[in-house]
Symmetry: C2
Subunit: 203 residues, 2 copies
C-alpha cells in the first residue's frame, strides 16, 4: 500500500467500504459529495481520502461504485490472504474467533493460544487452541503475521513480546493496557471499558 | 465535565489512568515528562491533556500520583454510577457482559436485550436478558443512559433508533456499520475487523 497515507485517513477507508457495500446493487455511480453527505463528513476530506486509492472519479457523475469498492479493497489488502493468531481463548477471545467479518478484509484467524490446560486442545469456531508454550514453532508454521491479544492486562506485554519474537508484525490489543513495541511492529489498542467511559464523559 | 476538551484528548485520559494505576504503590510523584516518556508521547501533549483535569503539578516534582489518579477518575466520572444496557446477547455481547473492567469507570451494565426467544430470560454474568420488545419500559425503569450494541450490522441502526427513543444518550457500537444519530446522542463505533484490516494495511 501507499505508506504515505495518514493513519487517520486509513482508518476511514473501511467506513467508506462498509457504506458502499451496503448500497443497492443497481447503484452505478457515487460522488464524494454523496458519500460525505451520507456519512456526515466533509466532501473535501472524503475526496482526499479516496485519492490515496487507485479509484478515479469522473466529472459530474463521480466514481463507478464497483470500481471504488475494488480500489478500497485492494488498498486494504482485502483480496490478499493474511493470517492471524489470537492469544487468550476466554469469553472475548472466543467471540473474536467466532466473528465472521475478517474474511471481508482478506484476513483469516487460523489458530488460538492459551495457557489454560482446560482450553488447550479445544476447537473454537473450527480453530484449534494451542498451548502458548508452542507459540514459537506454531506461529511460524502457520505463517501468521497478525495477532489479536485477548488476555488479562497483566499478561499483555509479555504475550506481545513473545508474539513479536515469533515474527508477528501487527497486534490488535484488547487488554486494557498500552503495549509497547519496537522494530516497526504496529499496535492498535481497543480498550472496551475506556471507550464506554469516554462516551459517558461526553453526556 | 469540561465540555471543551477535544475528544482526541479525552480519549487519552483512560490511557494515563491505566498507566498510573499500574505504577508501584510506593511511587509518590510523577511528572508529565515521566508519563510522556513511558507512553512514548510528547511531553507538551501530556501536560496539555492533564491540564483539563483538576490536578495541579508542583514545580520540579510533578504531580502527586494519588491526586492525579483522583483527578482523572473524577474527570472520567469514574466515581459516579452510570448505568448501561447491552443489546445482542450473542458471543460478543456475552463477552462484554462478563467483562469486569467497566466498574473502574463507574459504569455498570445492568441488563441485556435480545430478540431471540432462546436467549430471553437467561442470566449472563448475573445480568438478565430481556425481550427487546420491552426496551421502552425496561430502559427507563433501569435508569440506563449508556448502551452497547452487539447486534448484526443490518439491525444496528434500528436498535440505535429504538434505544434513543428510550432515552439512551450514548452508544458504543460494535456492529460494522456507521450509526447515525441526532439530538446530541454520542456514538463510538468499534469495528473489530476494520481495526485489524487497518493494521494489516500498515505492515
Amino acid at each position: 500500500m501507499d505508506k504515505d497515507i495518514p493513519v487517520i485517513s486509513l482508518q476511514r477507508l473501511p467506513v467508506y467500504l462498509n457504506y458502499l457495500k451496503a448500497l443497492p446493487d443497481d447503484r452505478q455511480y457515487i460522488s464524494s459529495g454523496n458519500i460525505a453527505e451520507a456519512l456526515g463528513m466533509g466532501e473535501v476530506l472524503v475526496r482526499k481520502d479516496l485519492a490515496y486509492t487507485a479509484a478515479v472519479g469522473r466529472p459530474r457523475v463521480g466514481y463507478l461504485v464497483k470500481e471504488l469498492i475494488s480500489a478500497l479493497e485492494e488498498f486494504l489488502c482485502c483480496n490478499g490472504s493474511r493470517k492471524a493468531v489470537l492469544v487468550g481463548a476466554g469469553a472475548l477471545g472466543r467471540a473474536v474467533l467466532s466473528y465472521g467479518g475478517f474474511k471481508n478484509y482478506g484476513i483469516e484467524i487460523v489458530a488460538a493460544f492459551d495457557s489454560d490446560e482446560k482450553k488447550i486442545g479445544d476447537l473454537v469456531a473450527d480453530k484449534p487452541v494451542y498451548d502458548i508454550a508452542q507459540a514459537e514453532s506454531e506461529v511460524k508454521k502457520l505463517g501468521a503475521e497478525l495477532a489479536v491479544i485477548c488476555v488479562p492486562a497483566q499478561y499483555a506485554q509479555e504475550v506481545a513480546d513473545r508474539l513479536i519474537s515469533c515474527g508477528i508484525k501487527a497486534i490488535l490489543n484488547f487488554a486494557p493496557v498500552l503495549i509497547r513495541t519496537g522494530n516497526g511492529v504496529v499496535v492498535r489498542n481497543i480498550d472496551v471499558a475506556a471507550n464506554l467511559a469516554v462516551l459517558s464523559s461526553m453526556i
